[in-house]
Amino acid sequence: MALSVFDGIMISYVVTQKPANEQPFILIGNPGNKRTLGLQEARSSQGLKQSVLVPYQALLQRSLRIGDVLYDTVHQWCDRDCSSSVSPIIRLDAPGEDPEVEREFIAWGAPNFTENDAFCPFEFVSDGVFITAEEARQLPVQQGRILYPAQWFRGYCRFLYFIKKEAENAGFPIVWVNDPADIAVMFDKRSCSQLLTKHGVRMPALPAPAGSIVDYDTLQEAIALSGMNRLFIKLACGSGAAGVMAYQIHPVTGAELAVTTIGFEEREGERVYYNSGILRRYSDKAVIRRIVNWLCLEGAHVERWIEKESLRGKSFDVRQLVVNGEACHAVLRLSSTPITNLHLRNERQMMTEEILSSGLKQQVERTAISALSAFSNSSVAGVDVLVRRGSHETYVVDINPFGDLLYNVDYLGLNTYEWQMQQLQGKD
């Protein structure tokens, strides 16, 4: 009896007081979006101090320096006794969905912008169509347009290198939720495929070595040599359904079919590619050639289209969140189209044992854990796992360092951010 009262006191202590091992948490993100708000709310509910929110834009424009943020944060954290045991945690959140930030990354990726390219996947760095930093900053906002993806990615990699060096030079023992170097690799589907394959993680087979398909004609050569006539062609640094094409060519008739959200049109004499938000089907060879050439120019990852297992007449894959080496929240993404990660119209469902057999569920979890374990300095990622129809072999098709924005799904009663805050607090 006395013990249960004592337990109650302990719980209320944890909720109302700073946990003994709590460390300052710095969040680099775009203020006001669902991710940063969700994370701050989770910290409140877990009895943790609010994170220090550092806008990408301020860092990119250098109106704020991460070294100063660290210094201020640590000193405010221990204003009475600044011992050496403070090790701030830094989380880089998704940089997307903010047009100003997007343009600034494109500016950082410009040929006339001097930054270190150490995190750019070296052999792919010449991809794409490039504009100057000044042109990038003056780009008008165009709804849905896919802007200079290769240049954006190069700018993002430069930023990742810059932020890592600046933070480490500040002299505090930092803990990265995900190491910036790892984020650069996870973001590039070509590098990621190479790394995970090297670690023995099963990925879809490639019709040709990563990065070697540079246009429509080399794609056709790879198809002829490999015999793979059903492929996914993805922007190497795209996320979600953006820049993904399910491509197939009939081995006898040569007819082609491409299913994708990519649309294109002429705007003021310029050919503009955009995400239409809905799936389009192209069977015109000239049109398919044009889109494939553009994807390849901006850097494409091409992999075999593996037939996905289905549930209630819809095919699916699984977004499995992994935190600190443990599988937690998981969502089945069901679709009657080849592209399951398209948000529009596709159905989401929590992965439970009523949906997948416990054996298959565990296999998905193990697969996702093994993918993240290839990144020894990172602790959170959403891993997209595909279950092959018939054999039930599991494949990793994507690993997203920001893949934790999952709605209406809980794990042991906590949402994705609450669970992470609880798990990461003890990390060292």
């Binding site: 197939q248 081995p251 079919l257 289905s310 080849p338 018939g390 054999s391």
Partner: protein
């Protein structure tokens, strides 16, 4: 007992064949209990037709005394686009299984049902991206005295449908299938024309259900349906997946009829697409 057989891409590459699966099934204790047989992917169906296993199924007809329902080609776009599924003349199945009650076919490339005659068949369903004129002619010349349900995906002209309502009209003759209760003329790019053509034909008097779903039905075709006394007498009308306006949907909902007007579509660049085409 219901059994589904399928050969995936890798299994096919590894030498697995549908004929072997059928032979194994015929030799198993399940064979004599089998009532529903679903053949999914038979391995790279964009290259191979059911000719690769049809003879085997026919040869083993006596192993499956209770077989009443067959589905040939139950696959989705993960395995093969519907318009790329190779079919063949499936009439030998009807000859081999005289007690068959239901036949479902997916895919229409090189599909034929010649001759289309059967004493006991109650259901014929063809799911495809475009129903060829030749198959429509075979249906309108069929001898299927017990047929109660006919469900046809008409599709688009790129994938085999001629695009003309003239081809569909012969299927609306009353005497064709005297026991017909369910008629589906669906997934059409000329769904409005079909709706107008069907709105007041006598065959409706014998039907319980009319299925005009999955097509490009707009207010134009819908006006003809909603004005028809014959349509009002149906037990159910399926118009799901459509391009009707909100106000037209409301009129149907207020009509007191059992009508499915779910899955409203939005025109894209002034273009309307049926549900299944590729």
């Amino acid at each position: 007992m219901e059994i589904r057989l399928s050969v995936g891409y890798d299994e096919y590459e590894n030498g697995e064949r549908m004929t072997t699966l059928i032979e194994n099934l015929a030799a198993s204790p399940d064979a004599e209990k089998l009532s529903i047989l679903t053949i999914g992917d038979w391995g790279q169906a964009y290259e191979n037709s059911p000719d690769s296993f049809l003879d085997t199924l026919v040869q083993h007809r006596d192993s499956f005394p209770l077989l009443r329902k067959i589905f040939i080609g139950d696959m989705d776009s993960e395995e093969c686009e519907v318009s790329w599924i190779n079919q063949t003349n499936l009439s030998p199945l009807l000859v081999a299984f005289p007690k068959l009650q239901s036949l479902t076919i997916k895919g229409s490339t090189d599909l034929s049902l010649d001759p289309l005659e059967h004493e006991n068949l109650q259901e014929l369903i063809i799911i495809c991206g475009g129903l060829p004129q030749e198959v429509i002619h075979q249906i309108t010349n069929a001898k299927l005295p017990e047929l109660q349900k006919l469900e046809l995906y008409l599709g688009v002209d790129d994938y085999g449908f001629s695009g003309s309502v003239e081809d569909v009209l012969p299927m609306l003759q009353s005497g064709l299938f005297p026991k017909l209760k369910y008629l589906g003329l669906k997934d059409s790019e000329i769904q409005d024309e079909i709706a107008i053509a069907i709105a007041d034909v006598p065959i409706l008097d014998q039907l319980e259900t009319l299925d005009l779903s999955y097509g490009t039905l707009s207010d134009t075709g819908s006006e003809a349906l909603i004005a028809s006394e014959r349509i009002k007498k149906l037990q159910h009308l399926n118009l799901s997946y459509h391009y009707m306006s909100e106000s037209m949907v409301k009129r149907w909902q207020d009509s007191g009829m059992s009508v499915d007007v779910s899955d409203q579509q939005v025109e894209e660049d002034e273009w309307r697409y049926p549900f299944l085409t590729e």
